[in-house]
Homo-oligomer: 320 residues x 2
């Protein structure tokens, strides 16, 4: 039996996930759904953001639907999301950016780079080690290539790096180029700063972009501009044995509790989950329902409307 | 006597700098101008991108007008611009972003962070050390505060960091906050990914943004979108004893040699140089001439026109 973990987390995670979960349950009537409590609220309640048992549960699932977690400004608190990515070795962070004028996918390396966790903290000097390895670069390059081949858009695979400054990125760039060449893909190698600008100016030139962890983090938020903000953007964190799906947006404490968060990113994350599990036609049906709802102007305040999270969720659900 | 070095460098540097130099000479009739050859072309000619003598000359100047240099994709070649920033300890990279709807300044730490140069290269694993020190964080925070006070826009000083992931950024963030507090400035602390998006969505909310080296590099190109590209953006690299002024754009080998590069970024860099030297009213006069030329539609192809680099330069010069 298919097992799905549902993690609401904190803030608007608690508001958007129920809308996405409803749709998941519709397409997976026989699956077992397991609710897992974790995040900052959980930390305040129990002293631990994610119990060992919860982590174990996550590892037993076929897929995880994840809301958002709040990171308090406390140096001792380690982001539970990063811990999960690490423990489940979710090495590929796949972030599609789609709207009328743009249809691209960011493939972000999700396990190393500046997120190595190798740090030395001092009063006078603190350091973080940026780590690029052959193995992690190769597997993310292979993932990007396979997505590029599958999408078949006849646009080059773009490699975002800063090899003119970071020698560690020469390794990343060269491995990406080598992997793409063995797959006969055409390649465009770009400096990440120039890339962040060019993707805004000419989004139509882009299809699949592969990059390292922190650059992917920044690039994907930047691309949020092309869709009017992060409220629309889903993501998948994929590993060899595990998969977690989450909106790109965070827990948004500033608007949490008011029922006005845009649930579309969470709903699209559910669509990616269903696609990952191979549920026929689900992703297409969900996307069509999202488009219809948008066309009717039933949208939350971030998109200029006055619909509630629930309104948008129910409208999309009704159209599926 | 005031001494100014003029460095054209490579590619479009050779085309835009003469337009800016003309204006400099007009405002500084008694200065000594010293031409310095350096960059990739120089490297091809002599085997050295910048001779020891040239570096010494740069150190003897009151200010440097700098075009752009090409970095070839050769791991052995070290960016000469980075070397100059390092040797002259040009610790503050000041990047104003100005157009009809936006008026902000990025204050980028220019000596450490991911640009430390501390790297270990291997076949299987390469690393770069990201370094944040108290001293460098303090001096860049002080610079940002003094710019904020001078601009007096009544908007908070924004600190861009990623302290939720990088413990090294906790040091940076906390020092910036502490310095700003001693100056009674209000502060807004933001994650760099969210900042890159928000500045695009709400540029009017921003005045001065202080951030670390690589984040500042990416943020300033991203903000180029707000002005239609990089062709318009000047920058200053300021140290205790030296100052270098350069367009944010690079040498653009793809359009070099055709006389169509936009000279406005270089001309505005000259304006910043004159302001730095305390030349009364020069910056205002130059900006007024730039605005008039733009209003007449005398613009290069990047802005949708068909004027040449020379046309734009001469029109601006004539109006001064
Ligand atoms: C919350 C934070 C740790 C996370 C990241 O930096 O990866 C977020 O920004 C993201 O993009 O998923
Ligand atoms: C050319 C490169 C080394 C440089 C940098 O990364 O600082 C450039 O992108 C800049 O913004 O000045």
């Amino acid at each position: 039996m298919t097992k799905i973990a549902v993690v609401e987390g904190d803030g608007i995670g608690r508001e958007v996930i129920p809308e996405a979960e409803k749709i998941l349950r519709f397409f997976l009537p026989d699956a077992e759904f397991v609710r897992v409590e974790l995040g900052f609220d959980q930390w305040k309640k129990t002293g631990s953001a994610c119990s060992k048992e919860s982590m174990k549960t996550l590892k037993e699932m076929d897929a995880i639907l994840f809301g958002a977690v709040t990171t308090p400004p406390d140096p001792e608190y380690k982001s539970i999301l990063l811990q999960i990515r690490h423990e489940l070795d979710l090495y590929a962070n796949i972030r599609p950016v789609k709207s009328e004028s743009v249809d691209l996918v960011i493939v972000r390396e999700n396990t190393e780079g500046l997120y190595s966790g190798i740090e030395e903290i001092g009063e006078e000097r603190s350091t973080t080690l940026r780590v690029v390895t052959r193995d992690c670069s190769r597997r993310i390059a292979e993932k990007a290539c396979s997505i590029s081949i599958q999408r078949n858009q006849n646009k080059p695979l773009v490699i975002g790096h800063k090899a003119n400054v970071l020698k560690s990125d020469i390794l990343f760039r060269d491995i990406c180029i080598a992997v793409a060449e063995t797959q006969n893909l055409s390649i465009r190698s770009m400096f990440i700063d120039a890339l962040c600008l060019d993707v805004l100016l000419h989004p139509d030139r882009y299809d699949v972009i592969v990059t390292t962890n922190m650059f992917g983090d920044i690039l994907s938020d930047t691309c949020g501009y092309l869709t009017g903000g992060l409220g629309m953007l889903p993501s998948a964190n994929i590993g060899k044995n595990h998969a977690l799906f989450e909106p790109v947006h965070g827990s948004a404490p500033d608007i949490a509790g008011r029922g006005i968060a845009n649930p579309i990113a969470a709903i699209r994350s559910a669509a990616m989950l269903l696609e990952h599990l191979g549920v026929q036609d689900a992703a297409e049906k969900i996307e069509a329902a999202v488009q219809q709802t948008l066309a009717l102007g039933i949208v939350t305040p971030d998109l200029g409307g006055n619909a509630s999270t629930r309104d948008v969720g129910e409208n999309i659900f009704a159209k599926i």
